[in-house]
């Protein structure tokens, strides 16, 4: 009995390999885009890099662009599959783009496929494209190296924007909990295709599942600062702090954020009036200051004061915009819900949020100025 039993596993070898998915027999999607056609169908566009030369590492990568439409995202994907000789695989997808029109409808419906599929790449970036997503994906970009495809190019562009704090860091998964949260919203990078490149224009703000507006760069940096992002590799921005200097260039200062501390205060009065305030304490390094006289403490203080004032103004502008759009990416609602649950239950947050008293103040502390004064 034991002998026979121990031989049984050998039988397995005869049966074969059911789940084999050969790498060389799949086409890897690196970028996907969603648009709606005029008759309301989902149009999926996918970019598949294909190497043409046999020698590894030296092969040229050619982007193949496929697109298909269907009633749902999945249906269009299946149709896409049928157009391609080998199996299409989205597990290495780098970016998903939504056409602006599609983003304004509902992005969760389109993303459902990605959440449901065990093989999908949850770390793919999300972005909204001005115009149509399919246009962005099928642009022949100048910059992509010969060895990378459009997906990689777009992802890298977004990544560098993240590093300069122009856009917040988000991917399919990080957006998901926020999308479900009644007390918080999110923002995605907003791309604009130029002729041969793509430019990151700022952030697209969402409310629930829908896009409700944009904040353009450089204001989007202030937006990212307000999220409490500690500091990124190059969170820097240029601000005009004087108005009277000539030439015009002398009015500006550029700084890099070294430390960013956020305190978020939510006050709820017994009557249920909500007020919120974001206070940022930033430690910055001046990286450009053509006036070159940061030697005296007085001058440094002056710069600090002016910067703080300017940034606070910007921050309040951002908040105003957000309230107008009814987008709550800083999670004021979440705070109310967490600490003042009984109040939250009574409020209709959607209607209350645009009217709450929401302020921001930024306090700048210059801690360095490069190697010259």
């Amino acid at each position: 009995m034991r002998k026979i039993l121990s031989l049984l596993p050998v039988l397995l070898l005869l049966t074969g390999c059911w789940d084999q998915a050969m790498l060389n027999q799949t086409k890897l999607i690196t970028a996907g885009g969603f648009d709606y056609t005029k008759d309301g169908k989902v149009l999926t566009t996918a970019a598949v890099p294909q190497s043409v030369a046999a020698e590894a590492g030296q092969g040229n990568i050619v982007n193949q662009i496929f697109s298909a439409s269907g009633n749902t995202a999945r249906q269009s994907r299946l149709r896409l599959d049928r157009r391609v000789a080998e199996r299409l695989d989205a597990s290495k997808n780098q970016i998903i783009l939504f056409g602006e029109a599609a983003a304004k409808k509902d992005i969760y419906q389109l993303l459902d496929v990605f959440y449901r599929d065990p093989k999908s790449a949850l770390n793919a970036k999300l972005a909204v494209a001005k115009g149509k997503a399919s246009d962005v994906i099928s642009t022949r970009f100048e910059e992509p190296k010969m060895s990378s495809g459009v997906g990689e190019y777009l992802r890298d562009s977004i990544r560098s924007a993240e590093e300069s704090a122009t856009v917040p860091k988000e991917n399919i998964q990080t957006v998901c909990p926020v999308m479900f949260d009644p007390g918080q919203d999110f923002a995605l990078p907003y791309l604009e295709p130029l002729k041969k490149t793509v430019s990151i224009r700022g952030v697209a703000l969402f409310h629930e599942h829908k896009m409700v507006g944009t904040i353009r760069e450089p204001l989007s940096v202030t937006y990212t600062m307000l999220t409490g992002e500690k500091h990124t590799i190059a969170m820097s921005t240029t601000k005009k702090i004087f108005t009277n200097k000539k030439p015009e260039l002398m009015n500006y200062v550029t700084f890099k954020v070294k430390k960013n501390k956020r305190s978020f205060n939510i006050d709820v009065t017994p009557e249920g009036k909500v007020s919120a305030e974001i206070k940022l304490k930033m430690k910055v390094v001046v990286t450009e200051y053509p006036r070159d006289n940061l030697a005296t403490p007085g001058e440094v203080e002056n710069v600090e004061k002016r910067l703080s004032k300017k940034l606070t103004k910007d921050a309040n502008k951002v908040i105003q915009k957000l309230q107008k759009m009814n987008s709550d990416p800083y999670g004021v609602g979440r705070h109310v819900m967490a600490y003042h649950y009984p109040v939250w239950e009574k409020l209709n947050w959607k209607e209350v949020y645009p009217k709450i008293d929401f302020k921001a103040s930024i306090d700048v502390d210059v801690i360095g100025h490069g190697i010259i004064e």
């Binding site: 596993p9 065990p118 979440r334 967490a338 649950y341």
Partner: protein, 364 residues
């Protein structure tokens, strides 16, 4: 039996490895469906509750040193009733093994091997389980000790989730009400099952009773803490509205992580998790085989082992729909709660009331 004894340290690892099993992946979800975001409190309550069961099991086994539950039952209830209960317990443990197989199969089928026939996935686990239980508890315990460091790897993976958590999701604490929280802790008890393996393995331990109870209790404590950590992490990683649609939150969470040398950490996590599942399965299969040995009066458990293994594999193949799996899960969880967590307390009461005690128990 002398050559098969295990040390109390090995007992610790036996219990730890038996406790960590299928539960890890779906526990946050199953707790959430009942207790909402306060599920982690339920878990801690359950952790406290099982300490009582553990105490009862230990007291019971202490009255009959070096006896497994199968030897205790006839002594406690008389020969015939004891036989009936032996049968029930054997079946119970066999069904826990089956439940482990079913859950393992459904998760593997859902996450990595989509096309592979179910019988293959189940069969391969059973074959491995069979190979393991043909040896003595000592070797099994040694193996369990070796694989325990892998838990640290799992822990580190989960720790990575803290790069993107929303601590506010856990608030307001106690939103669901104390009663619901306590009620749903029964679900948590099921996930913490594994301490019941001490009903059999205590008999093999050569540690002093005081050391034994410390070890089992500490093992369960560790697992409770680990589980609470996992549940807590998933609750602050996912939005409460999101968990409802994610039955395996831990895996889902890991799926989103990628490192520069490896992406899709969930696949690595699953591979390591399978070892944890295998260890629980092996423990229960061993216990079931021990039961068969007692029932049929066999010389050693190896003789009954292949039949137990085949029995479990065949039964485990039956449910193949998701809803069926859930139903099996529900019923077997219920019986587990009764026989593993509650019944030992009853047995102890019987033993105390009828003053049943093995001679020399006090001295040992």
């Amino acid at each position: 039996m002398n050559s098969h004894t295990i040390t109390h340290r090995q007992l610790f690892f036996l219990i730890v490895q038996t406790q960590i099993g299928v539960g890890v992946l779906s526990l946050p979800f199953s707790l959430f469906t009942k207790a909402k975001i306060d599920g982690w409190i339920s878990l801690i309550i359950a952790g406290l509750f099982i300490q009582f069961s553990i105490l009862a099991i230990w007291k019971l086994c202490d009255r009959f040193p070096h006896n497994t539950i199968y030897e205790i039952l006839p002594k406690l209830m008389g020969k015939n009733l004891g036989l009936v209960f032996n049968f029930i317990y054997t079946l119970h443990f066999a069904f826990i093994s089956i439940l482990i197989l079913i859950m393992y199969n459904s998760i593997v089928g859902k996450w990595i091997l989509f096309e592979t026939p179910h019988w293959v996935i189940i069969f391969i686990m059973t074959a491995v389980g069979y190979y393991f239980i043909t040896s003595s508890p000592r070797e099994i315990a040694r193996f369990f000790v070796i694989v325990t460091p892998l838990l640290i790897v799992l822990f580190v993976f989960i720790l990575y989730a803290y790069t993107d958590v929303h601590l506010l999701y856990i608030f307001p604490v106690g939103q669901t009400g104390m009663l619901t929280i306590i009620k749903s802790s029964s679900d948590a008890v099921v996930a913490l099952l594994g301490f019941d393996a001490s009903l059999v393995f205590l008999a093999y331990s050569n540690g002093t009773p005081a050391k034994n109870i410390k070890v089992i209790s500490f093992a369960s404590f560790c697992i409770t803490v680990l589980y609470a950590f996992i549940v807590f992490t998933t609750y602050i990683f996912f939005n409460p509205a999101e968990i409802i649609i994610v039955p395996e939150p831990v895996l889902y969470m890991l799926k989103a992580f990628s490192f520069s040398i490896i992406e899709r950490t969930d696949l690595v996590f699953l591979s390591i998790w399978i070892i944890s599942v295998a260890t629980s399965f092996i423990s229960y299969l061993f216990i079931a085989a021990k039961g068969v040995q007692t029932l049929f009066g066999l010389n050693d458990h190896q003789k009954g082992a292949p039949y137990v293994a085949i029995f479990c594999a065949v039964i485990a193949i039956i449910p193949n729909e998701k809803l069926e799996v859930l139903m099996w899960n529900k019923y077997i969880s219920l019986t587990s709660l009764i026989f593993s967590a509650l019944f030992p307390i009853v047995l102890l009461l019987i033993a105390v009331l009828r003053k049943k005690q093995e001679k020399g128990a006090a001295s040992s």
